[in-house]
């Protein structure tokens, strides 16, 4: 199905079943948070896992998506699907600007440039009037889907988040397994060779950067609607760090890894939240352990041991 390998198909249906059953057992707001971040992590993974570009500034796209969705839904009364789409478009537009500057350099320079650009975006967000500065945009209405169905109840909202998540997840999978995705992998493995084969590698990199940013913007927009708030936390640097952690922990370059990574990181945050800075310490420890002993991540290790492609 859609270029899925057999174990991937099984894992996919397992995930869909889990999404459908879970709200009967767990707090739906928590589950929606997991899906928003899982999508964000998948978008980030598209870039680092399949093109080898490690962005340290992805919070910028996630956060701008959240701001734009929140603002258009609240101030202009846009319906949720249009508002989320707007968040994705602006995220992608910002990605175009960042990407155009950042792909001039590679590796760690790329990481540092995206980080600095995201920080600049953060400072701008503290200045712009529409972001509400330190207060953020609050009291964002979830509105009526297509102007018809109210999303006020958590379960209605849950259904929308679940559909968008699965759709974007499949989209990312399609991108990776298309001819376009094959060129991306060629660039990751050996860029000079891809260039010599006649591919304009910079164009490919920029395109995938924009796609990744747009999907991150959609994830941010959904989060803004779920919680009714968009704030500086969403654009600030720790958010970029968290998404890296999710992808690393789950497995960069695997399609399910970021989803698992996001679920673990969000659960950890939830249970450790009352213990203040121990969240930070734990995240740091996970980083160190992953880099030293677990570079393929949980799903990556599983796949390697079982010789599966996940």
């Amino acid at each position: 199905m859609m270029g899925f390998s057999r174990p991937q198909t099984a894992a996919f249906w397992l995930m869909v079943a889990a999404i459908m059953i879970a709200p009967a057992i767990l707090y739906p707001v928590f589950l929606m948070k997991v899906m928003c971040f899982a999508l964000f992590a998948c978008a980030f993974n598209l870039l680092i896992g399949y093109v080898g570009l490690g962005s340290f500034g992805h919070a910028a796209f996630f956060g701008m998506g959240a701001y734009i969705t929140a603002y258009t839904a609240k101030a202009w009364g846009w319906t949720p699907e249009i508002a989320i789409l707007a968040g994705g478009l602006v995220g992608g537009g910002l990605g175009l600007a960042f990407g155009w500057l950042a792909i001039r350099r590679q590796g760690i320079y790329f990481a540092m440039i995206t980080l600095a650009l995201a920080q600049m975006n953060y400072f701008l967000c503290t200045q712009w009037d529409f972001t509400g500065g330190e207060d953020g945009i609050q009291g964002v209405p979830r509105g009526n889907l297509f102007g018809l169905f109210s999303l006020k109840s958590d379960l209605a909202m849950y259904a929308v988040v679940a559909v968008v998540f699965v759709a974007c997840f499949l989209l990312i999978h399609r991108i990776v397994h298309s001819p376009f995705g094959q060129v991306l992998k060629a660039i990751r493995e050996n860029e000079p060779r891809a260039t010599s084969l006649g591919y304009r590698t910079d164009d490919y990199k920029l395109m995938v950067f924009v796609l990744s940013a747009a999907i991150a913007g959609i994830a941010g927009g959904m989060k803004a609607l779920v919680f009714g708030i968009a704030t500086l936390t969403d654009v600030n640097f720790p958010m970029s760090g968290e998404v890296i952690l999710m992808a690393l922990l789950g497995g960069m370059g695997t399609i399910f890894g970021p989803v698992v990574g996001a679920a673990i990181v969000i659960t950890m945050q939830n249970y450790l939240a009352p213990f203040g800075a121990w969240v930070t310490v734990t995240q740091g420890v996970v980083f160190v352990v992953c880099v030293l002993a677990f570079r393929r991540g949980l799903i990556g290790e599983l796949a390697a041991r079982r010789r599966l492609s996940l």
């Binding site: 503290t126 509400g132 213990f275």
Partner: protein, 405 residues
Amino acid sequence: MSLSRRALLGTAAAVPAAATFRSARAQRPVVKIGVLTDLSGVYQDIVGPLAVESTRLAVADFGDRGFDVEVLIGDHQNKPDIGSNLVRQWYDRDGVDIVVEGGSSAVALAVSGVARDKNKAYINSGGATSDLTGTQCNANTLHWTYDTYMLAKSTGAAMVKAGGNSWFFITADYAFGHALTRDVGNFVTQAGGRVLGGVRTPFPGTTDFSSYLLQAQASGAKVIGLANAGADTINCIKQAKEFGITTPLAGLLMFISDVHSLGLDTCQGLVLTESFYWNLNDRTRAFSDRLWKRMPNRRAGMANAGPYSSTLHFLKAVQAMGPAEAKKSGAALIAQMKKMPTDDDVHGQGIIREDGRKIHPAYLFQVKKPSESKGPWDYYNLLGTTPADEAFRPMKDGNCPLVKA
């Protein structure tokens, strides 16, 4: 903060803290109070653990009136998304009836919206924004201890009267700073003074204010207004001394804990406004002595003490309505609280207005010289009092939708 205490506080937040008095009979009604505060950030001295303790003191002072009271504790880390998320879970899953303290301006506005959506109750004590009882007011929220209007009126007007008729503002560049600058500016011009200019400093993250202070001095203003709080204010005052700046500073939002950490040597002569001082009268001294026994070596400022006053009033309202009624609707509970006059050791007698504003007098203090201070925490001389009915913005000017024109 020591590890053990943090771990303890953490456990208290994860598991509902033991009620101060728990009856053997399980079927007694229970009301739950959530104390949402800053336990780890820049405002932990202004509110934080001492605000938690003053809430517990109110529960103890109220005594056993036929229902149990549970106190839950949470840390909002000064982030509106974290605060509102936590409160949503409290209301949805943990059966919390009312949230007190409730953090800085940004957190306050977010939590107030959640309280309205879930029809629960919320009383803010630590936040400053007067919008909470203005355009953003709702039937589920009260604003208790102070606001930007009260600070602006008391400190701003007094400084102009004392000859400080030209001002330069150093403003923390976010909603609270802007609101405070706007409110103080209005009072300065109304009193015949002038605003010469100002700088907006990036927030958070500015630690070096020296260049802004030099600009303030170069403007020739007679007063430098500090429209910021906490660490920003402390850094401004310290650096003004370091750079030999002689223009008087007006700390527009300062608490006794700030004076304590700066020391009288640096702070002497500063003018500031609080709605509570531990050594103000017999009642405040009695309250402070009871609180001291629970948490020694610190004296409460207004934001630490506010939750005592609001919690006590909440418990009285619960008793008047009966716990079952009180738990049903946050709006009805808040309406009941507005009907009853308030009376407690922190603010004395007061009332709550229709827009949710609790009113009481505001006190203008001057920080003592080291030679005047008779002992630890003896820091303030009372300069003047703004009576309760003048201390807060008139209801008609707030544009609160609850107030019918």
